[in-house]
C-alpha cells in the first residue's frame, strides 16, 4: 500500500468514463449563450441539468448590479470577514434575507456547502446529537463529521422512523438537531414537513430545513417548503444557497434564535474562508426581489416540470416519486447511465450523471433540472431525446 494506492480503482473507473470523449464529471462548457443553452463538444445544447430554476443568471438587473459592484468595489474581498471586515453588501444582503424570512438574523456564507458545514459544526459539538434524513446532501454529512457530535440517521422521509430514533435518545432528544431538506436533490421529492415538525415538537428538538433546491421554487414568495407548508415559524434554522434559484454563488442561514450570531466567532467554515466577492453579493441582492415577486416564473417552472415529468413517465421511465423541478431517471447500471448521458448529449441535451453511492437505492441517475427559462420547444426537445433513447433503459 502506498499513499496513492487508494486511487487505483478510481483510475480504472475514470478510464471507462473517458471513453465518452471527456470526463462527464467535468464536462467542458465551451460557451454559454443563455440560462438554458450552451456549446458543448462543438454543438449547441439545451442545458437541462444546471439547477438554474428561475433562469436568473442572465437577468439584466443582476448583470447590471454585478457590473456596478465590480467597478465600484473591485474583484474580491481578499479574505475573511473576521480579518478583512464586512462589506456594506454583505450586511445589506443579510438584512434583506432576514426581512425575506421575517426573522431576527441571517449569516451569509461563501457557498451553500459551507453554509451547512458552518451551521452544523457551529451549532453542535462532541456530546451533542444530530439526527439527519438518510438522503441528506453530502454537505450535511460533512458538517456532521466536522462537528464531532453523535450522528443518527433516520429513514428517508419517514417521520415515524424519526420519532422512533428520537425516542431512543431519551433526554438527549430535547437538544437534538434534526436536519431535513425542502426538496431532496437526487430524486426531487419534498420532505413531509408537517409530520416532521410534529415529531420534533413532541421531543422538543431543533429543526434545520435546507431549502437549497426549494428556495424560489416553492411558496407564494419563494421562501421554500417552509412557506408552502406554512411552517416557517416552526423551523428553527433555514439554510439555503444562492447558486440555484438566485443564479450566483454563496449560502445563508436565517433564524430567530439569537445564538445564530455566535457562529460568526465560532464556526470555522465562516471564520477561516474568504467572504463572497462584491459582484456576487450585488447580483444576489438584485435577484432576491425577482425571486420574491417571481410567481410568474414559478408558474412557468412548474408547468415545465410537470410536462417533463409526465412525458418521461408516459415513456415508462422509472422516476422519482412526485412531479418536481428535479426529474431523475433511475437506471440499473453505471454503463447504462453513461451511455444514456452520452446519447442525450449527442441529441443536444445536457443533464447530470450521478453514480452510487451518492444515489438512493444504489441506482445510477441521469438527472434533469427544469428552469422557468426553458421554452416549450426546449422541453419538447428534451422529451424527444429521451424518447429516442428509450431502448437504452431496458
Amino acid at each position: 500500500m502506498t499513499l496513492f494506492s487508494k486511487f487505483d480503482s478510481l483510475a480504472q473507473d475514470r478510464e471507462a468514463l473517458l471513453s465518452v470523449g471527456f470526463d462527464p464529471f467535468g464536462t467542458p462548457i465551451e460557451e454559454v449563450y443563455s440560462p438554458t443553452e450552451a456549446k458543448i463538444d462543438g454543438r449547441r445544447v439545451v442545458l437541462a441539468g444546471t439547477n438554474n430554476y428561475l433562469g436568473l443568471t442572465f437577468s439584466p438587473e443582476c448583470l447590471k448590479a454585478a457590473h456596478e459592484a465590480l467597478d465600484q468595489q473591485g474583484t474580491g474581498t481578499t479574505g475573511s470577514r473576521m480579518a478583512n471586515g464586512s462589506f456594506a453588501g454583505h450586511r445589506a444582503l443579510e438584512q434583506e434575507l432576514s426581512e425575506f424570512y421575517n426573522c431576527r438574523s441571517t449569516i451569509v456564507f461563501s457557498t451553500g456547502y459551507q453554509a451547512n458545514l458552518a451551521v452544523i459544526s457551529g451549532l453542535t459539538q462532541k456530546g451533542d446529537v444530530i439526527v439527519i434524513d438518510a438522503d441528506c446532501h453530502a454537505s450535511i454529512y460533512d458538517g456532521c463529521k466536522l462537528s464531532g457530535a453523535d450522528v443518527i440517521r433516520f429513514r428517508h422521509n419517514d417521520p415515524e422512523d424519526l420519532n422512533k430514533r428520537l425516542k431512543r435518545l431519551g433526554d438527549r432528544a430535547c437538544d437534538a438537531l434534526v436536519m431535513v431538506e425542502g426538496i431532496y436533490s437526487m430524486l426531487g421529492d419534498r420532505a413531509p414537513l408537517q409530520e416532521i415538525v410534529d415529531v420534533k415538537k413532541a421531543h422538543g428538538s431543533y429543526l434545520v430545513v435546507d431549502e437549497a433546491h426549494s428556495l424560489g421554487v416553492l411558496g407564494e414568495t419563494g421562501q421554500g417548503l417552509v412557506e408552502e407548508t406554512g411552517l416557517l415559524a416552526d423551523s428553527d434554522f433555514i439554510v439555503g444557497t444562492f447558486s440555484k434559484s438566485l443564479g450566483s454563488v454563496g449560502g445563508y442561514c436565517s433564524s430567530n434564535h439569537p445564538e445564530l450570531d455566535f457562529l460568526r466567532y465560532t464556526s470555522r467554515p465562516y471564520v477561516f474562508t474568504a467572504s463572497p466577492s462584491p459582484s456576487v453579493i450585488a447580483s444576489t441582492r438584485a435577484a432576491l426581489p425577482l425571486l420574491r415577486d417571481g410567481n410568474h416564473l414559478r408558474k412557468q417552472l412548474w408547468a415545465n416540470a410537470t410536462k417533463l415529468y409526465n412525458s418521461l413517465s408516459e415513456l415508462g421511465y422509472q422516476l422519482g416519486p412526485e412531479v418536481s423541478t428535479v426529474v431523475a431517471v433511475m437506471l440499473d447500471t453505471r454503463e447504462q447511465a453513461l451511455a444514456f448521458w452520452r446519447g442525450l448529449l449527442e441529441q443536444g441535451v445536457y443533464v447530470n450523471l450521478v453514480f452510487p453511492p451518492a444515489t438512493p437505492g444504489n441506482k445510477s441517475l441521469v438527472r434533469c433540472s427544469v428552469s422557468a427559462a426553458h421554452s416549450e420547444e426546449q422541453i419538447s426537445a428534451v422529451c424527444e431525446a429521451f424518447k429516442n433513447l428509450r431502448h437504452l433503459a431496458d
Binding site: 438518510a134 450522528v151 443518527i152 440517521r153 422512533k164 431512543r168 453511492p357
Partner: protein, 84 residues
C-alpha cells in the same frame, strides 16, 4: 466471550445477510468493506438495521473504529442491546 456477546454476534450475522446477501460467508474477522463488499452507504444502512434489531442508538461516528464484524459486535454489546 459471554453468552450475551455471542447472542449479539448471531443477531448481527442475520442483519449482515440481509444487507450483503445470504451467500456471502463471513466470520468475526471479516472486514465489512473489503470482505463483504459493503460501500460506505451500505454500512450506514446496516447501522439503521442494527439500531432497530437491538433497539439502541448507534451514532455514525462509531464507524470510525469499526472495520470488522467483531468490531461492530463489540460496539453493539457495549451499547447495551435489548433482548430479541
Amino acid at each position: 466471550m459471554t453468552a450475551e456477546y455471542n447472542e449479539v454476534l448471531e443477531r448481527l450475522g442475520k442483519q449482515l445477510e440481509i444487507i450483503a446477501g445470504d451467500k456471502i460467508k463471513f466470520d468475526e474477522s471479516t472486514d465489512l468493506v473489503e470482505g463483504l463488499g459493503l460501500d460506505s452507504f451500505k454500512v450506514l444502512d446496516l447501522l439503521l438495521e442494527v439500531e432497530d434489531e437491538f433497539d439502541i442508538s448507534v451514532p455514525m461516528n462509531v464507524l470510525t473504529d469499526v472495520r470488522t464484524v467483531k468490531d461492530m459486535a463489540q460496539r453493539i454489546h457495549e451499547l447495551g442491546p435489548k433482548s430479541a
